[in-house]
C-alpha cells in the first residue's frame, strides 16, 4: 500500500527522462546491451584498437609494397619493371655515390646524438631544478619552439642566422675573423640536426632526471666526494637508462633527417633520405629508391636496437 503511494507520487514529479539527450543516451545503452550480447568478451576488449591498427596497417602495406618493388629489376631507359631479382640491392651497395652519402649520414648520426645528449642532460637538470616558473616556461618554450614550428620555419630561421650577411657573419667580421661560410657545409647541417634532436633528448631524459635521488648525492658529498666525482659516479649512473634511450632516439632522428641537408646543406651535403628521393623521382628509378628506403629502414632499426642492447649490456656488467 505504502510503496504504491510512493511510486504514484514519483509519477507526478517533473521528469527529464523524455528529454532528447536522455533519449539518445537510452538508445546508446540499448545498442551497447545488444552489442554485448552478440560480441564475445575477448573481441569486445580488442575492437576499439581496430581503427588504430587499420591506420598503422596502411603504413605496413605501404612498406610491403616498397619492399616488393625493391625486389624487381628495372629498365630506367624504357621505364619498364622487370622480373624478380636482387640487382637493385647489389647496384646500390656497390654504388660509390651511395657509399659517400651513407658514410656522411652515419658520421653525423654518431656525432650529433652525443652533442645533443651532452646539452640535453644539463638542460633537463636545470629544467627540473629551477624554482621560478617563468624560467621553467622559458626553457620549455625554448625546447618546443624548434620542434613545433616545423622543419621549414626552423631551417629558414637558421638560414637567416648563419647565412651570408646574417648575424653570425656580422659578429665574426666585426671581431675580425672573417665570415665563416657555414651554409652548404656539414657544420650547418649538424647545427640544424642538433636543434631538432634537443627536444627529443630532453623529453626522453626528463623521467630519469626526475627519478634522481638527491639524497645519494648529498651522502657522497658528506663522505668527501668532489662535485665532479658526484656527477660522474652518482648522478650519471642513475641517468644511464635515459641517456641510452635518448641516444637511440637521436640516432634515429639524425639518420632520417631530410630538411636540414636539403636546405642548410644547400643540396651539396645529401643524406640517405635526399639520395633516396633523387633516385626515386629525379633519376626515375623507383625500384632503386625503394631498395634505398628498405636499407635505411633496416639500418635505423638495427642501429637503434644495437644502442639499446649495448646500454643494457653495460649496465649488467657494472652490477
Amino acid at each position: 500500500m505504502h510503496s504504491r503511494s510512493v511510486s504514484e507520487q514519483w509519477k507526478d514529479l517533473p521528469s527529464c527522462a523524455s528529454a532528447p539527450t536522455w533519449r539518445v543516451v537510452d538508445g546508446l545503452v540499448s545498442a551497447r546491451v545488444f552489442y554485448a550480447r552478440i560480441a564475445p568478451e575477448r573481441l569486445r576488449r580488442v575492437i576499439p584498437l581496430a581503427p588504430a591498427l587499420l591506420l598503422v596497417g596502411s603504413l605496413v602495406i605501404g612498406l610491403l609494397a616498397l619492399g616488393w618493388r625493391s625486389l624487381h629489376a628495372y629498365d630506367s631507359f624504357l621505364a619498364v619493371q622487370g622480373g624478380w631479382s636482387l640487382t637493385q640491392y647489389g647496384a646500390v651497395l656497390s654504388d660509390p655515390q651511395f657509399h659517400t652519402v651513407l658514410q656522411r649520414t652515419l658520421l653525423m648520426a654518431v656525432i650529433t646524438p652525443i652533442v645533443a645528449v651532452g646539452i640535453g642532460v644539463p638542460y633537463a637538470m636545470t629544467l627540473t631544478r629551477c624554482k621560478r616558473r617563468w624560467v621553467r616556461l622559458l626553457l620549455l618554450i625554448g625546447v618546443f619552439v624548434p620542434l613545433l614550428t616545423g622543419d621549414i620555419t626552423r631551417t629558414y630561421g637558421l638560414l637567416v642566422a648563419i647565412g651570408p650577411d646574417g648575424p653570425l657573419d656580422w659578429i665574426t667580421s666585426n671581431v675580425g675573423l672573417g665570415s665563416p661560410h657555414l651554409l652548404g657545409t656539414l657544420w650547418a647541417v649538424g647545427i640544424g640536426i642538433v636543434q631538432i634532436q634537443l627536444p627529443a633528448a630532453v623529453v626522453v631524459l626528463l623521467p630519469s632526471v626526475l627519478r634522481i635521488d638527491p639524497e645519494l648525492g648529498s651522502a657522497a658529498m658528506t663522505l668527501g666526494a668532489s662535485p665532479r666525482t658526484v656527477f660522474l659516479r652518482i648522478t650519471l649512473p642513475q641517468l644511464r637508462t635515459g641517456i641510452v634511450a635518448a641516444l637511440a632516439a637521436c640516432f634515429a632522428l639524425a639518420m632520417a633527417s631530410f630538411a636540414d641537408p636539403a636546405i642548410l646543406g644547400r643540396g651539396l651535403m645529401n643524406f640517405v633520405s635526399n639520395f633516396l628521393q633523387s633516385r626515386y623521382l629525379t633519376l626515375g628509378s623507383p625500384p632503386q629508391g625503394a631498395a634505398i628506403g628498405i636499407l635505411l629502414l633496416v639500418i635505423v632499426s638495427l642501429g637503434t636496437a644495437l644502442i639499446l642492447a649495448l646500454g643494457r649490456a653495460r649496465r649488467r656488467r657494472s652490477r
Partner: protein
C-alpha cells in the same frame, strides 16, 4: 652548487641557438630590401601586404589547413578508442601494441612518405589531399596516443566504480565521467597533431604537386634561391599558429604534468 651553475650556463648557451632563429624570422619579415642583411635595414610591412595579395599563398594555406584538420580527425577517431583500451589488454600485449602503433614515428619519415607514394601510384590516387592527410596522420599518430595514455594514467581509478555503484551504464560512464576527465588530454593531443600536420614538410613534398602544394612546400620552393624576407612573412604565420596552440596547451596544464610525471 658549482655543478648546477655549470648546467645553467650550458642551458643558457643552448637557449640562444634554440630561440634566436625564430626571433630572427620575425625581424627578417619586417626588413627592407630584396635580400636579407644584418643589422636589418629599415622597417616595412610591405612583405605582409604582398603576402595578403598573393593567391598562391592563400590556396597553399587552405590546403595545409584541410590536411591538418583531416589528420586531427583521423588521429582523434583512431587514437582515443585505442588509448582507452590499451591499459586493459594485459602487460605484454599492451607493450606489443604500443610498439606496433608507434611504427609511424620509428620508421624514417621519408621512407613512410615513399611507402604511401608507392601504394598511391599503384592504385591510381593522384592529387588527393585526403590521401596526403592519411600519410601525415600516421606519422603523427604516436603523439596523440601517448598524450591520451598519459591522461588515462592521471585518471582516478575509483571514479568509474563509484559511477557504476550509482547505476551508471558503461555508456553513461564513458560520456559523463571518463570523457570530461580525459578532455584536456584529448585536446592537447589534437593540438599537437594539428601543429605537427600543418607544419609537415617531408611527407607533403613527396605526395603533393605544384597544383595542390601545402604551405611548407610553397615556402621551400622559395628557399632555394637567395634568402628573401618575403618568406619570413609566411613563416611568421606559422610561428603565430604555433604560439596560439602552445598557449592553449599550456593553459590546459597538461604538458607540464605530462613532462614532470614521476
Amino acid at each position: 652548487m658549482r655543478r648546477l651553475r655549470l648546467a645553467g650556463l650550458v642551458t643558457g648557451c643552448a637557449l640562444v641557438p634554440l630561440l634566436v632563429p625564430t626571433v630572427l624570422v620575425l625581424t627578417a619579415s619586417l626588413s627592407e630590401g630584396e635580400v636579407l642583411t644584418f643589422p636589418a635595414r629599415g622597417f616595412t610591412i610591405h612583405w605582409y601586404s604582398a603576402m595578403i595579395g598573393n593567391d598562391a599563398i592563400w590556396s597553399a594555406l587552405g590546403n595545409s589547413l584541410y590536411v591538418a584538420s583531416v589528420s586531427v580527425a583521423i588521429n582523434v577517431l583512431c587514437g582515443v578508442p585505442a588509448a582507452l583500451v590499451l591499459p586493459n589488454v594485459g602487460r605484454y600485449s599492451g607493450a606489443l601494441f604500443t610498439v606496433v602503433l608507434s611504427l609511424g614515428l620509428s620508421s624514417p619519415t621519408i621512407v613512410s612518405a615513399f611507402a604511401y607514394f608507392d601504394v598511391y601510384s599503384r592504385i591510381g590516387i593522384g592529387k588527393n589531399l585526403t590521401a596526403v592527410a592519411l600519410a601525415i596522420a600516421v606519422t603523427s599518430f604516436p603523439f596523440m596516443l601517448w598524450t591520451v595514455l598519459a591522461a588515462m594514467e592521471d585518471l582516478d581509478s575509483d571514479v568509474l566504480p563509484a559511477a557504476a555503484t550509482m547505476g551508471a551504464d558503461p555508456v553513461e560512464q564513458f560520456f559523463f565521467v571518463r570523457l570530461p576527465l580525459l578532455a584536456p588530454g584529448i585536446v592537447t593531443g589534437a593540438l599537437v597533431v594539428f601543429v605537427l600536420s600543418i607544419t609537415d614538410f617531408v611527407v607533403s613534398q613527396v605526395l603533393t604537386t605544384v597544383d595542390d602544394q601545402t604551405l611548407p612546400v610553397y615556402i621551400y620552393s622559395g628557399l632555394r634561391g637567395a634568402i628573401s624576407p618575403a618568406l619570413g612573412a609566411v613563416s611568421a604565420l606559422f610561428i603565430v599558429v604555433v604560439a596560439l596552440a602552445f598557449a592553449a596547451v599550456l593553459r590546459l596544464g597538461k604538458v607540464e604534468r605530462f613532462l614532470f610525471r614521476t
